[in-house]
């Protein structure tokens, strides 16, 4: 089986090279587009939107934050996990209730209520928050996050945690 040697003139050569790059590009795009969608789009269905009971409102004294511990279910990938959650709950003088998320808005450390100073203090980088969650000092970029709250039959119900949009001031 003899075959005449390929005469690779510049035109044919250019065509070959162009085709190699074009096909490589098509295959690359056909593989990377689904991969990007797969990696970066958020999973369908299964949203958390449950109200959980955190505790009695009656036991709260005005302006005295209490750390309430409750169990909540959370969708974690292909599972639903039941886990302990906490919130710092403050009864305001007008009888409304505020529930702060338990993490400092700086880098997510757990903060606590400093009774003697009437402030929330984060031990990691000394962010200090006031009773209404505003940043008093330290590196925290915004006020404490708040849970959606509802009171039913004297019980405090917590919904989703809403990131605060407030500036440090």
């Amino acid at each position: 089986m003899s075959q005449s040697p390929e005469l690779e003139g510049p035109t044919r050569r250019r065509f070959y090279i162009g085709a190699i790059y074009a096909i490589g590009g098509i295959i690359g795009a056909a593989l990377s587009a689904p991969a990007l969608v797969y990696l970066f789009s958020s999973p369908k269905s299964r949203q958390n939107s449950q109200w959980v009971e955190a505790g009695d409102v009656a036991s709260l004294a005005p302006n005295q934050p209490v750390e309430m511990v409750f169990r909540r279910n959370r969708v974690d990938g292909w599972k639903v996990v039941s886990e302990k959650g906490t919130a710092w709950v403050v009864k305001n003088p007008d009888r409304s209730v505020t529930a702060f998320g338990p993490q400092c808005t700086h880098l997510g450390c757990a903060y606590h209520w400093e009774e003697s100073k009437d402030e929330f203090v984060c031990p990691c980088h000394n962010s200090v928050f006031s009773l209404d969650g505003k940043v008093l000092s330290g590196p925290a970029p915004r006020s404490l996050d708040r849970f959606e709250t509802r009171i039913e039959g004297g019980k405090l119900l917590l919904g989703g945690l809403r990131p605060s949009s407030g500036s440090p001031a």
Binding site: M1, S2, Q3, P5, E6, E8, R13, Y16, I17, A19, I20, I23, G24, I26, I27, A30, L31, P34, A35, V37, Y38, L39, S41, P43, K44, S45, R46, Q47, Q50, N73, V75, G77, W78, K79, V80, V81, S82
Partner: protein, 545 residues
């Protein structure tokens, strides 16, 4: 200022030598006769890369333990955009890789390209074929569905039956007999940790050897001037790769890869079948029984692999002209006939799948589209014997108004008010009050709102297991966590298509003790009467996917 790309390239080349090496690689001289038939190797390498790429993507959302593996794969398929496509590419890519590697082997065999000095190249290639089959065998278990589980049970039993080596192989595969966590982990490690670097090393060796000895010329090549690998041959390889990719992509999009029920070691009805490329071995085993079994399962395949590896030493003739290699052609033809015959026999004798459940799908199935609440309404509708007075389309008594028309005139609030105090809503009516709870009346109203002249008969024909099952469903408030036909909460998994995911016995046991069968599950245990359990399970299994 234009960036000085050439300068950058030159700098990089001086420091790393990458461009020089690449130029050297591409400038390799190949015989004048080289062409399309040499493309199989490149396609195989390309498919390996696709497998690696899609494999990593799958692994990113995959939990490699039994049970969790299944749930995470289901999550990839149903919750993640593009997950089904990526799994399709990986699944069909595996099959395609076997086809291409086999074609590559046949081409090399026919052209006698394994002859001196290329024996080592051939042997490395045969090992690569075995590695490819090893991926297929280990990857088969990873979805942890019934197919995977039972297929692997058979494979480990075969390995354990090998003469002399059997007990050692069995221990290596993590068996004290049963396929469980240990076997699963070992298969996973084999599939993603051991085989990939081994494959890379073997491909490197194989390609190095091809380069070292050059592409095999055919008689007559020596008279002709050589060609360069780039761009002519690279172009042909690229076209071949593109064809393979187009076929693969089409299959991944068009042919749905099944995920069967979660592996159920207690399922006595499951008949395992291997992947298509192992069917010939499966059939051999069927033909060789008793003392011959080990011959078919281990001895013959072992000898075949040995023979394949030793081909260069068995055939030491000098003939390279493909049209004169009649013995080689006869071998390929025999092997092809044998393989095709055995595979065809296996396909032809495939048993019909056992009937999933004794559900009669021949009747009207409009009821399947109803929500559990509406379906439970049918149960109340029958219980209260509404048709004793009311017309329902053609049927029923003509005493009261036709109920197929109520949904046009009335809303749920009116109906419920009317059920409770008929006389208040319609003074002078002879209809008695319906004594049901609010929830039950809601259910009845929900059903009546769905009723229309077109579906009246088929809804009234809803089987009792479905209406009774829906009653149990409603009474236990299953909808507060689960979805059926899009109604309910998506907190727990949707129940449509349950029969595709779980076996009946699994579901029944799961009701009694959810935490035992799916650790971490939030579902409370339910104690049902045998009749309720039967109705509810049958109903859930009848739901459309």
């Amino acid at each position: 200022m234009k960036p000085d790309w050439e300068g950058v390239a030159e700098w990089l080349d001086q420091r790393t030598g990458v461009q020089t090496a690449l130029r050297h690689f591409l400038a390799e001289e190949i015989p004048a006769s080289s062409g399309w038939r040499q493309a199989f190797g490149s396609v195989a390498v390309f498919l390996f890369l696709v497998q690696a790429f899609t494999g990593v993507l799958l692994a990113i959302n995959y939990a490699p333990t039994p049970g969790e593996a299944y749930n995470s794969l289901r999550y990839i398929l149903t919750d993640l955009t593009g997950g089904r496509l990526i799994r399709g590419l990986h699944h069909w890519g595996a099959s395609m890789m076997i086809v291409v590697v086999a074609l590559h082997l046949i081409q090399v065999f026919l052209y006698g390209a394994y002859k001196k000095p290329r024996e080592a190249t051939w042997m490395a290639g045969v090992v690569l074929l075995l590695v490819t089959l090893g991926y297929g065998m280990t990857g088969y278990l990873l979805p942890w569905d019934n197919r995977a589980y039972w297929g692997t049970v058979v494979v480990t039993q075969i390995a354990g039956s090998a003469p002399i080596l059997g007990p050692y192989l069995s221990r290596l595969l993590g068996g004290g007999g049963a396929v469980g966590v240990v076997t699963f982990t070992r298969f996973f490690v084999m599939h993603v940790i051991v085989l990939p670097p081994l494959t890379l090393a073997l491909i490197a060796l194989h390609v190095f050897l091809v380069r070292k000895h050059g592409v095999t010329p055919v008689p007559g090549d020596e008279m002709l001037p050589k060609k360069q690998f780039y761009p002519g041959q690279v172009f042909r390889d690229t076209i071949a790769i593109f064809i393979a990719f187009a076929v693969l992509f089409t299959m991944a999009v068009a042919v749905r890869v099944p995920l069967e029920q979660l592996a159920d070691p207690s399922d006595t009805t499951y008949i395992p079948r291997p992947e298509w490329y192992f069917l010939f071995l499966f059939q051999t085993l069927k033909l060789m029984t008793g003392p011959l079994e080990v011959v078919g399962s281990v001895v013959l395949p072992g000898l075949a692999v040995m023979a394949l590896i030793l081909v260069p030493f068995i055939d030491r003739g000098k003939m390279l002209k493909v049209t004169r290699r009649t013995t080689a052609m006869a071998f390929v033809a025999l092997a092809a006939i044998g393989w095709t015959g055995l595979t065809a026999m296996a396909v032809a004798t495939k048993p019909a799948p056992a009937p999933a459940a004794e559900i009669d799908y021949s009747g009207p199935t409009d009821w399947m589209q109803l929500s559990p609440e509406e379906l439970a309404g049918i149960a109340y509708f029958r219980q209260e014997n509404c048709v004793a007075c009311h017309a329902v389309g053609e049927g029923g008594s003509k005493l009261g108004p036709d109920l197929t028309l109520t949904s046009i005139h009335r809303d749920a609030a009116w109906m419920i008010h009317h059920f409770k105090q008929p006389g208040l809503v319609r003074p002078g009516t002879s209809m008695p009050a319906i004594r049901l709870s609010d929830a039950q009346l809601n259910s009845l109203a929900a059903f009546l709102l769905r009723l229309n002249p077109r579906n009246a008969t088929s809804l009234q024909d809803a089987p009792d297991f479905a209406t009774q099952g829906a009653l149990v469903y409603q009474a236990n408030d299953c909808g507060s966590c689960h979805k059926v036909n899009g109604m309910g909460s998506s907190f727990g998994p949707a129940l449509n298509g349950l029969s595709k995911r779980r076996s009946r016995s699994w579901v029944e046991q799961h009701f009694a003790d959810p935490a035992k069968l799916s650790p971490g599950s939030m579902m409370p245990p339910f104690k049902f009467s045998p009749k309720d359990l039967d109705n509810l399970t049958t109903y859930l299994f009848a739901l459309p996917e």
